[in-house]
């Protein structure tokens, strides 16, 4: 899937070809720094982006393509199949309405319950998220940040969705409340077989909550795999920097030695050519300035890359870095042009690196104008169905409960 925002200043390729999957009862963690495209991706899954966003690729929910759904079907799906807990959602509660009414709203709007049934259901939902039933009568300002976040989770659960997308559900919360919310989220996945996509910039939080992790950088997945493996044995230099950012308290090597990543996040309108991480990468090779590597098995298990590409996208640990390539690929970058099989996984609708342009009009030649970005290549190469998002009255509003009847 790819998402490009059209703005007055030009196209902003926010998500540049990402393939992910989540199974029932499974939690997928999506990590990456601010601006890497995490929220854009999450919002795109339910077509909640503004009109200026163009989404390409496929988004399959139980096999049905969300991008092709008509408006009525989409609305049904938004509550019945999947729901989103938004970033900063605690502030998205309506301040002048009791939280119980706000939780009951989708049930009533969708005719899924009578007033009386809704009341019982709200009490049950509050209990599930660890709040006493009388809290239904509270106004948002009477609750702490963690309690408001629980209310948001209760709202997301109200219509028994099969998938929950949680965007930074604990970022503004302190450690103890974060622990309360994460414990709750974990038990919900386990008890109810809900699929979860959880977004955070804190890899340690994701590793503790999720089965699998995907690390995004500049709109792409640069590393993915089983959560513990990615967290403790990251192979992509960016994945490693994220994993090391939060020290293990008690570990002598991090005492008085904070570790960070230099440089600034890239401007999506002026992405560096080659591996977009190369200007900040401590392990960059000269070829990284013009060569972009696709995701490649990084678990050290010998195997047929083609077979891997055909199978599940994240069962194995993969990384998009020249250092995980087998020796011949690593040292002979010339062989990776079009016509030669590209290492890694040819994801559907996923562009190749655009190597020829990169070589002809490299950063120097282009003088400030950087190498063309991947999504334009994707569209040129005929990514399936570059359908614009149809007008969507409720969409740009970041509040699930505000959907008008």
């Amino acid at each position: 899937m790819a998402v490009t925002y059209r703005s007055a200043a030009g196209d902003v390729p926010a998500v540049r070809g990402v393939s992910l999957e989540v199974a029932e009862g499974e939690a997928l963690g999506l990590a990456g720094e601010s601006g890497s495209g995490k929220s854009t991706l999450a919002m795109a899954l339910l077509r909640l982006l503004p009109k200026s966003a163009r989404v390409t690729g496929e988004i399959l929910l139980d096999g049905e393509d969300v991008l092709r759904m008509n408006w009525g079907r989409l609305r049904a799906v938004r509550w019945a199949s999947a729901s989103v807990v938004f970033q900063g959602a605690q502030h998205a509660l309506n301040p002048v309405r009791r939280v119980g009414e706000q939780i009951a709203e989708p049930l009533l709007v969708h005719g899924m319950a009578t007033q009386a049934e809704a009341r019982t259901r709200v009490a049950g939902l509050l209990e599930q998220v660890g709040l006493p039933a009388w809290r239904a009568r509270s106004y948002p300002h009477e609750l702490s940040g963690g309690q408001r976040q629980r209310v948001m989770i209760a709202m997301a659960l109200a219509c028994s969705p099969r998938l929950i997308i949680a965007d930074e559900p604990t970022t503004a919360l302190d450690v103890m409340i974060q622990a309360q919310v994460l414990t709750l989220v974990r038990s919900l996945i386990a008890d109810r077989g809900i699929g979860l996509i959880m977004i955070s910039h804190d890899l340690s939080v994701l590793a503790a909550t999720c089965d699998r992790l995907a690390v995004m950088y500049a709109g792409r997945v640069v590393e993915a795999g089983p959560a513990r493996e990615v967290f403790t044995g990251a192979r992509h230099p960016y994945g490693r920097a994220l994993a090391e950012a939060f020290p293990t308290v008690g570990d002598p090597s991090s005492r008085m030695a904070p570790r960070g990543l230099g440089g600034d996040p890239p401007d999506p309108m002026r992405l560096p050519g080659g591996c977009s991480f190369h200007p900040r990468c401590p392990a960059a090779l000269p070829s990284c300035a013009w060569r972009q590597v696709e995701l490649w098995p990084a678990d050290g298990v010998a195997g047929d890359p083609a077979g891997h590409a055909a199978g599940s996208t994240q069962a194995r640990h993969t990384a998009a870095c020249v250092h995980v390539l087998p020796e011949p690929e690593r040292s002979e970058p010339e062989r990776t042009g079009p016509g030669t099989p590209e290492p890694g996984m040819p994801e559907a609708g996923m562009p190749e690196a655009g190597m020829p342009e990169a070589e002809e009009a490299g950063p120097e030649a282009a003088g400030g104008q950087e190498v063309p970005n991947a999504p334009s290549a994707a569209n040129a190469s005929g990514a399936p169905d570059a359908a614009d998002i149809p007008d969507d009255p409720g969409a740009p509003d970041a509040r699930p409960a505000k959907e008008s009847a």
């Binding site: 720094e33 601010s34 660890g130 702490s144 940040g145 963690g146 919360l173 302190d174 450690v175 103890m176 409340i177 974060q178 622990a179 309360q180 414990t183 910039h201 804190d202 890899l203 340690s204 939080v205 590793a207 503790a208 960016y238 920097a241 994220l242 090391e244 950012a245 939060f246 020290p247 293990t248 308290v249 008690g250 570990d251 991090s254 005492r255 008085m256 030695a257 904070p258 570790r259 960070g260 990543l261 230099g262 600034d264 996040p265």
Partner: protein, 322 residues
């Protein structure tokens, strides 16, 4: 040598007709060139304590001392004081005026204080904060900067007055994981190069482990444990510190404290942590014969000390020196 000190500090607010004892008796020192972390969950009083140390709140009782002298609250005295003790606010984006360039943001302090050589001051502050070459950043607006760069601008604004102490409130909480280390390294470098002291307010124990010499753990308006970082964070004595450490993502056995968040208008009798204490609930305090004390005997205010201290009957039954 002690530079900044809180002595038996109490700060209170009126809250819906009740009295909120936000800071309820605190002794704390920050030595020259020392980095002290103040940790605790949200609402425990960290920011109120920090604001009081900066002279932004008046204590109900107790004293703030700087260089051994009690803080004077006249406008003039406070103005002079704020050159020495600078705040680095919690959210860099919220604290920068979007219509001011980086130069204007950093020059604001020197202008208020009527300092000469404004341009050199601004340039030197920016480069000490790691924004180099400084001139390149002069005309830039906050929205053109990344989160990490904005935080550096805010730190440069504090450095422009050549302070001796920085009071930083959650300096990295609103930043990405990837730039966190950079900002923390900057604080360490400022201490090494300029001998700056810092009080860092945070709920992030990893931050304390990364940069602080000492840590003070606050619960419901009081410091319940304090001491050298290695001791407090490797072998916590107070059950509350133990719980805070146990909920770090990698911990094997999390002790998730339940219940409502602590309310400074209703501080429990006995040990103020007793309604949520796992040592008491599990019966371990009873085994040690201190459960009665836990419920009825308040602990005294911890003295300011650089040694390990914990305000807990159970911990003291086993380690009387605490």
């Amino acid at each position: 040598m002690t530079l900044l000190e809180a002595r038996d500090l109490h700060v209170q607010f009126a809250s819906r007709g009740r009295r909120a004892r936000a800071v309820d008796g605190v002794n704390l020192t920050v030595g020259e060139g020392e980095i002290v972390a103040l940790v605790g969950e949200s609402g425990c009083g960290k920011t109120t304590l920090a604001r009081t140390l900066l002279g932004l709140e008046r204590p109900a009782s107790g004293t703030v001392l700087y260089g051994g002298a009690p803080l004077a609250y006249s406008t003039r005295a406070l103005k002079a004081y704020r050159r020495e003790v600078q705040l680095v606010p919690q959210d860099p984006t919220g604290s920068l005026n979007p219509r001011h360039t980086v130069y204007e943001a950093v020059a604001e302090g020197p202008r208020i204080h009527g300092l000469r050589d404004e341009r050199e001051r601004v340039a030197s502050a920016l480069s000490r904060a790691g924004l180099r070459p400084p001139e390149r950043f002069f005309p830039v607006y906050p929205h053109e900067l990344s989160g990490g760069q904005r935080q550096r601008v805010v730190i440069a604004g504090a450095l422009a007055l050549d302070p001796r102490v920085l009071v930083a409130d959650e300096p990295v909480a609103s930043l990405d994981a990837s730039v966190r280390g950079e900002i923390l390294s900057l604080l360490l470098r400022l201490r090494a190069e300029l001998g700056l002291s810092a009080l860092v307010v945070t709920h992030d124990l990893g931050l304390a482990w990364n940069i602080a010499d000492r840590v003070a753990v606050m619960y419901l308006g009081r410091i319940v444990e304090s001491g050298p970082v290695e001791q407090v964070l490797s072998a916590p004595s107070h059950p509350y510190t133990q719980a805070l450490l146990s909920v770090l993502p990698d911990s094997p056995a999390p002790i998730v404290l339940g219940g409502e968040p602590p309310d400074p208008t209703r501080i429990p009798g006995g040990c103020r942590f007793h309604p949520r204490c796992h040592v008491l609930a599990s019966g371990k305090a009873a085994e040690a014969g201190v459960d009665g004390l836990c419920r009825s005997q308040p602990l005294e205010i911890l003295p300011s000390s650089t040694e390990l201290r914990a305000a807990c009957h159970y911990a003291r039954a086993r380690q009387p020196q605490l």
